[in-house]
Symmetry: C2
């Protein structure tokens, strides 16, 4: 057996060749298919970014039109799934529901076992639309509200906000969510995407892969981090504390401050740059600037004191709260963006597949460890 | 960024230190906690092996008694889950149902987010019992049969067969399944276990991790392989063909023969040794020896012609068929054994956690790839 030494958490280990996402952690560069995230956030839309991730290049006008219609035509959930969600206990969290429901969607897929390129693409359209619908629907179900029909004339971001709130969103809200979706759409071999690829590589199927990804995203070290940031801001607000004093106390108590530092970036996470600005703009235009102000003062302190930079999660917290999203919808909203990247990675994995099966370094009782009969133990 | 070169499928790359499973692929050795699989198959039980995997050593008599009661006391499924399964379309495959239902079980866990050692152990007992129950229950539901109550006086293997068939199994059948469960209980960082660890390492939760594992196990390159072996045997039998001639034709048509070769073993898979004997013995005692005979002649031919050895999947196919299991229950039965290993690995991962987040080698369009406005594409 030829092995390389164990690297805990596979840090710095290259697990795949990929042409989807380029990251330079030292320069703070993130690019999809080589196009800088700043250009995409400034000029593109989530639909265009999906196309770019799945097809490898930006769409021409009619390709984009076709893509948009296919995505909006996929806004359909089997009534049996909706009934199933209605029976879930109201205590079920949105991420548990999303994981379970996406898994159940395979029952109604016309060919759930198919793992060829075209089938994977078909499932990518379906799941991208359906994940947004499930998040919106379940939020209404648990709040005892009526489910809102999809509107095929709307963008992905606007339709989600419509199905969530029951009202057509303002242009500002639609744009803010759309940019957030662009920023979160892919991030190379993050844990959820890697879980999706490991699952897909057994030639399982797209629903299995995306279900694994949702399970991984649910963790506080991954998608759950912006929720932790917001819970901290709420606690500070409720206690009427000074944000910096609160954070100082947390550090003294050796508590982790979520939203800072990143495995890959040594400099500022380029997504944080946009989200900071968005949080500030939304705060100003909505008159609810306090979450941004609190965040900014904490960021300045942690920058100076701990030399740690804000990551994607830090300002998405105040942004989403200012947009009116419940805290436990932050991770589901992350999923409704990241599914674009998960799908792109599953397609790439299965276009040139090899089972992902590493080795472990055995550090247990030496072999052979004799089997001792129970009467002599 | 410091990276090692990409190794496709992480072949030979060490992803973790682990004290659970020792494999020497060149010597054909498999051992749990250092104890050889042959000794365990000959002398142990599935319950004892679970204890060994979870606690690191063989139980004393009263520890084993306590373990057995805790496992059999965990034979309980919330009625809402059973109702949910009853509403699934009958076309849903047992693996889709298992993935979905295990995910839904978290709704009723008293603390689904908890990832401490004791909570993980508690969930391990629950899920080990519940996975077996779900497989048995859904098989009866889809066949329009009445659900059979669990019997807490029975072993894990016997209770599963009771809940599946409605009858207390013979000692021979119970023993055969018990040995199969021992042989499949763990196999180091196989793809499903690795998917479970990647998912758990975000500090998500046991249900998410096991759901990911089930999704990965579902693939034909992993748990699905013995199903493919059996479908080949059925096809040969139906056509009244000579097994060796059939396999020759498959090879001439460049078709893959499932059940041979293994990423890790260069010599015979030690589990195949036991399953071959079990397949032969069961065939003889049941008078249904033809599946073993066909398997044996194919094995001899592939050994001689392709220098490939039978793996764990090759003889589990004829073994399970002789035991009366439907072909699409083979992978679910694999799950009801491997959950022991998945649980052990999730516990080990979370006892000393680090996020599993490798890197990709970027091979896409060079950065910076200019964003071109749509009217100029």
């Amino acid at each position: 057996m030829s092995t390389t030494p164990a690297t805990k958490g596979l840090e710095g280990v290259v697990a795949a060749n990929s042409s989807i996402c380029y990251i330079d952690g030292d320069e703070g560069i993130l690019a999809y298919r080589g196009i800088d995230i700043h250009e995409l956030a400034d000029h593109s839309t989530f639909e265009e970014v999906c196309y770019l991730l799945w097809f490898g290049q930006l769409p021409k006008r009619e390709e984009l039109e076709h893509f948009r219609s296919r995505l909006s035509e996929s806004r359909s959930i089997n009534p049996a799934i909706v009934e199933m969600m209605q029976k879930f206990p109201r205590s079920a969290t949105p991420m548990e529901v999303l994981r379970t429901t996406v898994s159940a969607l395979s029952f109604f897929d016309p060919d759930e076992r198919a793992v060829d390129h075209d089938s994977n693409l078909r499932k990518s359209y379906a799941l991208t639309s359906q994940i947004a619908m499930i998040v919106a629907m379940y939020d209404r179900i648990r709040k005892g509200r009526k489910i809102v029909e999809a509107d095929s004339s709307l963008s992905h971001a606007a339709n989600f906000l419509l199905q969530l709130t029951g009202e057509k969103p303002s242009k500002t809200a639609e744009k803010a969510l759309d940019i957030a979706l662009i920023l979160h759409a892919d991030h190379e071999l993050n844990a959820s995407t890697f879980a999706a690829r490991v699952t897909a590589a057994t030639l399982s199927d797209m629903h299995s892969a995306i279900t694994s990804a949702i399970g991984a995203l649910k963790g506080p070290l991954h998608g759950g981090a912006n929720e932790a940031v917001m819970r901290m801001l709420f606690a500070i607000d409720k206690a009427g504390e000074n944000p910096v004093e609160h954070v100082k106390k947390m550090l003294a108590d050796k508590k982790k401050i979520s939203g800072f530092g990143h495995r890959v970036y040594t400099t500022e996470d380029p997504r944080a740059t946009h989200l900071r600005k968005m949080s500030e703009d939304l705060g100003r235009s909505s008159g609810k600037g306090k979450w941004f102000e609190m965040s900014r003062s904490i960021e300045k302190y942690i920058n100076a004191e701990k030399k740690l930079n804000a990551n994607v999660d830090f300002y998405s917290a105040s942004t989403y709260t200012t947009l009116g999203l419940d805290v436990d919808l932050f991770t589901p909203v992350f999923a409704l963006s990241r599914v674009a990247g998960w799908a792109a990675h599953v397609i790439e994995q299965l276009d040139d597949n090899r089972l992902i099966r590493p080795r472990a370094e055995y550090i247990g009782p030496a072999y052979p460890n004799k089997y001792i009969p129970i009467e002599r133990r």
